[in-house]
Amino acid sequence: MAQDLVFSLYIFVLAGFLGHHVISKVPHLLHTPLMAGTNAIAGISLVGSLVVAGGDFGNVSTILGFVAVVCASINTVGGFLITDRMLRMFKKKGGGR
């Protein structure tokens, strides 16, 4: 069990460092799309909700899971769409990207 925790913490800490490294390179220009995009990515909690909604764990769990699936889908689908909608607007002088 302790082994598991250490392993998970490894992943968490390394992902945090990697995130810091990658996100520091995102220009101010794209900070709103960045926030919308990371929202969409964090919508991956959908995979946890799917197990709760689709498993046979009793009515209360199913209802909780269903609501969670709706919320996470809003974030994932909506997040990626709005990020793309914003990024589409950024054009260089003369209309190029």
Binding site: S8, L30, G43
Partner: protein, 463 residues
């Protein structure tokens, strides 16, 4: 076999998400990153559906459909000015989803089967999930004007918040020791719900960029905690990316306002009732040069270089397109036009850039403060549109000013400054601005959009 396939799908998703963020480092390739992220998400969802625990689809399919419809509709129709509200809502949904999964994990297991690690993770997940949920709803309410943007506070509120926070930590320790005590678990949830409200209502509307970024970070942390609780690495990774991103942005925003985290969270700044004394050092009301449209156009006509400094007032009067039209017109006449964007110019990080991009301002004309601040000295005309604090020289000179130390544009170094203002009232922070009274400043009063259009029309007649 199945489980290693699922694990592999999560690995693919994790790599895709990191690539998404990497591609965001340039507007040229950023859209490619979104596609990669969508692919990763699809792989992870398909992988999850292979799990043997999933036996019924009758709730999954409508849930995903309803969520996709709501999310899709919101993204298609929401105006760009409402982006902070949209982001606040999505933090609320993210927090709620994490919290509900946490509750389900707890109630469907025999508490004594759960390890101490899982119990701790569940505590964090539900606490941060609910805190993010109600906190983001409060932030949404403030941005939308449903709740007063002014700080709502009463004596002892900070003490109550800190006590509640410490109390929930103590509760977590008790819960891990006695997982059968469901009351303690739900108590932690309840405290999360309450702190979300009480911690956000005392924060002023002007500080919402920091609050939204911080809630972004909490939403990420609650996703990560879910990953710890259900042993899912892609959740841990995606949550950590989201959490770091929110944290970096909130640090940047605080720095741009020259405020510490603690000051934003507990300061209740921007009330408008505490600050007038700071600007009242000068008892006589100084004179300012009020200019007409014709005066302003004569100045603009002669300019070789123009720097536009947009503030939130520009967005309020929906003047993004008007400012772009004027800018293009000046460019046609041979002037160099640039836009100086302060990090806190909008209501969330990068907001003003998006608003101007929507109005077809090319992004290579948008400059960050550190890239343009030295250019003001060689610049002919600065056009300040609906900005106040970010051009207030008091931030550099007046140690008594609440915004002293905040990075501001050196607009006063330009030959001429034209300020478009609705009225001579003080700005969001309630501070007076000595820039308006300098000899090389011309103030044109009126609605920003109408004034910009009038300037362009007047310029037209002189062609």
């Amino acid at each position: 076999m199945e489980s290693s396939l699922i694990g592999f799908s999560y690995l693919v998703a994790s790599v895709c998400f990191i690539l998404t963020l990497q591609f965001l480092s340039s507007p040229k390739f950023a859209r490619r990153g979104v596609l990669i992220g969508v692919f990763g998400m699809a792989v992870a969802v398909v992988g999850t559906l292979l799990k043997p625990e999933i036996v019924v689809y009758k709730w999954i399919i409508p849930g995903v459909l309803i969520g996709s419809l709501i999310g899709g509709a919101m993204s298609a129709w929401i105006p760009m000015t409402k982006m902070p509200e949209r982001i606040a809502l999505s933090h609320a949904f993210g927090g709620l989803a994490a919290a509900l999964v946490g509750i389900s994990e707890y109630i469907r297991h025999d508490p004594h089967e759960l390890s101490a690690v899982t119990l701790t993770a569940l505590g964090f997940e539900t606490f941060f999930g609910f805190l993010t949920f109600t906190g983001s709803l409060m932030a949404f309410g403030k941005l939308q004007g449903l709740i007063s943007g002014a700080p709502i506070t009463f004596p002892g509120l900070n003490a109550i918040n800190i006590a509640a926070f410490v109390g929930s930590l103590v509760g977590l320790v008790v819960f891990v020791g006695h997982p059968e005590m469901a009351n303690v678990f739900f108590g932690i949830c309840a405290v999360g719900i309450v702190i979300g409200v009480t911690a956000v209502i005392p924060i002023g509307g002007a500080d919402m960029p920091v609050v939204i970024s911080l809630l972004n970070s909490y939403a990420g942390l609650s996703s990560s905690a879910t990953g710890f609780a259900i042993h899912n690495n892609v959740l841990i990774i995606a949550g950590a990316l989201d959490g770091t991103s929110g944290f970096i942005l909130s640090m940047m925003m605080s720095k741009a306002m020259n405020r510490s985290f603690a000051n934003v969270l507990f300061g209740a700044f921007g009330t408008g009732d505490a600050s007038p004394s700071a600007g009242a050092g000068d008892p006589r009301k100084p004179q300012y040069n009020q200019g007409t449209i014709e005066d302003a156009v004569s100045t603009l006509e002669a300019a070789q270089s123009v720097i536009v400094v947009p503030g939130y007032g520009l967005a309020v009067s929906q003047a993004q397109h008007a400012v772009r039209e004027l800018g293009q017109h000046l460019e046609k006449r041979g002037a160099k036009v640039s836009y100086a964007i302060h990090p806190v110019a909008g209501r969330m990080p990068g907001h003003m850039n998006v608003l101007l991009a929507e109005a077809d301002v090319p992004y290579d004309q948008l400059y960050d403060i550190e890239d343009i601040n030295d250019d003001f000295a060689q610049n002919d005309v600065v056009l300040v549109v609906g900005a106040n604090d970010v051009v207030n020289p008091a931030a550099k000179t007046n140690k008594g000013s609440p915004i002293y130390g905040m990075p501001v544009f050196n607009v006063e170094n330009s030959k001429t400054v034209i300020v478009l203002k609705r009225s001579m009232n003080t700005g969001f922070s309630g501070l007076d601005n000595e820039l308006f009274y300098l000899p090389n400043t011309m103030v044109v009063l009126g609605d920003a959009k109408k004034t910009l259009q009038a300037l362009k029309n007047e310029l037209d007649t002189r062609d």
